[in-house]
């Protein structure tokens, strides 16, 4: 038995020695960040901002690879199947890890089994907005109207099974109001519909609503985070608007495939915390109401697990079906 143990120990030493060395020379070649979305959105922007900074600090190219489609399945699976050497990372968001497991029966990946969360990069609030021409002036007005005539107050979202949709259902569950959910094909057409008066209200990412908020076409009636947003401190939170216990945001975070050596994860995390404190990075995220993250890997994972459980409950109670 002893010789097996010593061989095992030797193997272990062999296995860990290169990983220490790997971390020291990491990154020795270009890094690829997979984004399970088309270029241009909040997650893609987060990847490009961070990628640019990593490139500046490490001198290695950081390539953003967009692998959109299939509710994020395609990009996530491409990452999961990539070598766990730290040269393939993924910028994913709330949808892939908190929403998909709640609404789809067969999700081909699992957070615990396939990924190591590194850190949260950008945490952006969502907002409930109303068209500025409608009589509803507050979240309370909106809820009262939906209660008075159940199923007639139309609210736009970027799609069935989107986090904005789940948020709407959640607010309905918490208040007993029944809204008319009107799904669109993405965030831009959804908020445009509210701005143009096609539907009186909308549940949207603050970033996509921003142009119409600034132009005055839509009015924010509530922000969805626990605290008010620094973008405009006069907007009340959902909790303050008579929607108890509902709190949500859209985050973008960096992930590595399971099996990437810990020293590399530590090195990435250390670098990212520095990057997320840079004023220009903060400024870029702030345009859409975002706040840079930076929580340690374990805390980030706990955050996702808790959020996923909460959303799962919403999906079951509100009977949301996406297939």
């Amino acid at each position: 038995m002893r010789w097996t143990a010593s061989i095992f120990a030797a193997l272990l030493a062999l296995a860990s020695a290169p990983s220490q060395a790997q971390a020291q020379e990491y990154p020795a070649k270009p890094i690829r960040i997979i984004v399970p979305f088309a270029p241009g959105g909040i997650v893609d922007t987060a990847a490009r901002v961070v990628g640019q900074k990593l490139h500046e600090r490490w001198g290695q190219q950081v390539v953003i690879e967009n692998r959109p489609g299939g509710n994020g399945f395609i990009g996530v699976m491409a990452t999961a199947k990539s070598p766990a050497d730290g040269y393939t990372l993924m910028m994913a968001h709330t949808g892939e890890f908190s929403v998909n497991p709640a609404i789809f029966k067969d999700v081909p990946y699992e957070l615990e089994r396939d990924f190591i969360p590194i850190t949260l990069i950008n945490d952006a609030p969502m907002v409930f907005v109303v068209n500025s021409g409608v009589p509803y002036k507050s979240m309370q007005d909106l809820i009262a109207a939906a209660k008075a005539k159940p199923g007639t107050v139309a609210v736009s979202t970027p799609g069935t099974g989107s986090i904005q949709h789940l948020l709407l259902e959640w607010a309905g569950l918490a208040t007993g109001a029944k809204f008319l959910h009107v799904p669109y094909k993405g965030g831009a057409p959804a908020i445009t519909a509210t701005a143009g008066g096609e539907v009186p209200a909308g549940s949207a990412a603050m970033g996509s609503a921003m142009p119409h908020i600034t132009s005055g076409r839509v009015t924010v009636v509530a922000v969805t985070t626990g605290k008010r947003s620094a973008v405009n401190m006069s907007w009340p939170t959902l909790q303050e608007s008579g929607v108890p216990g509902v709190e949500s945001s859209i985050w973008a975070g960096l992930f590595a495939p399971k099996g990437v050596p810990q020293p590399i994860i530590d090195k990435l995390y250390g670098e990212l915390t520095k990057i997320l404190e840079m004023p220009d990075v903060k400024e870029r995220f702030a345009a859409g109401g975002g706040v840079p993250g930076g929580m340690p890997p374990a805390a980030f994972k706990a955050h996702i697990v808790k959020e996923a459980a909460g959303l799962k409950e919403v999906v079951i109670k509100a009977n949301v079906k996406a297939e």
Binding site: G69, G159, T160, H212
Partner: protein
């Protein structure tokens, strides 16, 4: 006048050495990728995005915009000479453009495409400069019912697109509609006909389908004619300047195409592609006889080319004034602005006037560059396509594959390309024109989405379709168009009546 001051500001931005250079670079790249089948502006803009981080926002946008509208020019060259649309919006240009080339009139076809494009591009830029804010308001006022009826009109128009048999055309439209069902249902989130393949969740890849049906299938059909006169018309180009008669015949077509393109470009989702289809349809109905559409009528090149360029230009209006992307390329440009720390939207006009007016001014300059690139220097692009066919066809296949792959970076799109290439070859053998299929595929899912949304919001009341004046107008126009097809059919019962 404000506009003079604003334009002065814009030209001040656009006419600097750096910005002129990037504007030229943009339209040059645009023409190049336009000529190369398969590779489109979306992939190109995505690839160049990192490059723009270090540039001034105005410079970045001037270049990216140039790629987009430049591609509309280049797309027609391949359509005319090789019968493969270089861009999806030049699909219709193949119909008459290629026929003109077969008759030895490739030169005038290329010439009228460039001239039509230039007139339309310049006029539409004027529209952008003068009417952006009010037009954006109109686009916002479009309700789901209005969109639905517009699509109905478009679909009826698709039938008119057919060159030959009406029955085949209807069959193709229906096939397109059926293929359009594949993907996630917007209303319920249900996956339809995806067979558990994630890549099909967003539906069939439009580019893979267009490249398969029009590109690869054409190559196969050409290869079949061994040793015989291969149908690539690059050697006997002749003068690219259209004759006085050509210009006279095309003048009204260009004007109509420009007007239509300017309007449709503003609507989200439609843009240049829809504009070119609609322009061709209308031209087929209203152009002065003798009409010879489908057999090399120069107006069948002039109108859609004018329309797609006008549409490409005015599709900037929702993006610049509302922050609303009207197509994937615009979404990328919004991304480029956001990375620069600029939130696109109405405030851009007031807070960053130099950016807005700089882009507008650069569009005129860019269109001038494009006219130069596409008239005197057309030979340069033609030479790209003049390679011997044994070299050209592998190159076309490679570019089609690269183009299809780079849209989603997904290999399964290539399998779709293979399937649709086979289908395309079958359709050539059966004598079925694939253009109506494309329109069915594009319009079908949108029609369903808008109709169901209209009914959802109206709480199930179908009268919204006729109570909205816009919707009613489109429906009546569709009925009129349908009658104009049906009446001669009933009267003479001869298919000749349809061929025009």
């Amino acid at each position: 006048m404000d506009i003079i001051a604003n334009l002065a500001l814009g030209f001040g931005v656009a006419v600097t050495v750096t910005n002129l250079l990037y504007c030229f670079l943009g339209v040059f790249l645009g023409t190049l990728i336009g000529v190369l089948p398969g590779i489109g502006p979306v992939a190109t803009v995505a690839m160049l995005l990192p490059l723009t981080f270090s540039l001034d926002p105005a410079t970045a946008m001037i270049m990216l915009a140039g790629i987009y509208y430049g591609a509309q020019y280049g797309g027609s060259t391949t359509a005319i000479l090789v019968n493969i649309p270089g861009e999806s919006s030049s699909v219709v240009t193949t119909l008459d453009g290629y026929q003109m080339a077969r008759q030895g009139r490739a030169g005038p076809a290329l010439g009228i495409a460039a001239i039509g494009s230039f007139i339309a591009g310049s006029f539409a830029t004027l529209v952008v400069a003068l009417f952006s804010p009010p037009l954006a308001e109109i686009a916002l006022k479009f309700q789901p019912a209005d969109y639905f009826s517009l699509m109905v009109f478009g679909l009826v128009g698709a039938v008119v697109l057919a060159r030959g048999s009406l029955r085949k055309a209807i069959g193709m439209v229906v096939l397109g509609l059926i293929l359009g069902l594949v993907g996630t249902d917007v209303n319920s989130g249900v996956m339809r006909f995806t067979f558990g393949i994630p890549a099909l969740a967003e539906g069939i890849s439009f580019v893979a389908l267009a490249m398969g049906l029009f590109g690869v299938a054409e190559v196969i059909a050409n290869l079949e004619q061994r040793g015989k006169n291969r149908e690539v018309f690059t050697s006997r180009l002749g003068s690219v300047l259209p004759s006085r008669g050509d210009l006279k015949r095309s003048a009204w077509s260009i004007a109509r195409g420009t007007g239509l393109g300017s309007v449709l470009g503003i609507l989200p989702g439609g843009g240049a592609l829809l504009a070119s289809f609609a322009a061709y349809t209308i031209e087929k109905k209203v152009a002065k006889p003798p009409r010879d559409f489908g057999n090399g009528d120069i107006r069948g090149v002039a109108a859609p080319e004018a329309a797609n360029n006008a549409g490409a230009q005015t599709s900037f209006i929702p993006m610049l004034t509302l922050g609303v992307p009207s197509n994937p390329t615009m979404a990328l440009m919004i991304g480029a602005l956001m990375i620069q720390g600029i939130q696109p939207g109405p405030q851009v006009l007031t807070q960053r006037p130099e950016l807005f007016w700089g882009i507008v001014a650069s569009m005129w300059i860019g269109n001038l560059f494009l006219l130069a690139l596409n008239l005197p220097l057309i030979g340069l692009w033609v030479r790209l396509l003049a390679a011997p066919y044994r070299l050209l066809f592998p190159a076309i296949l490679v570019f089609c594959c690269i183009g299809v792959f780079t849209i989603n970076n997904n290999a399964s799109d290539l399998f779709q390309l293979v399937v649709f290439s086979a289908l395309g070859y079958l359709l050539i053998k059966l004598g079925c024109e694939p253009a109506p299929l494309i329109l069915g595929l594009v319009l079908g899912p949108m029609m369903e989405e808008y109709l169901r949304r209209a009914l959802l919001i109206s709480l199930g009341d179908p009268t919204v379709l006729v109570t909205s004046p816009l919707s009613l107008a489109f429906l009546l126009a569709a009925a009129a168009l349908l009658a104009s097809i049906a009446v001669p059919l009933i009267r003479s019962k001869r298919e000749e009546a349809l061929k025009e």
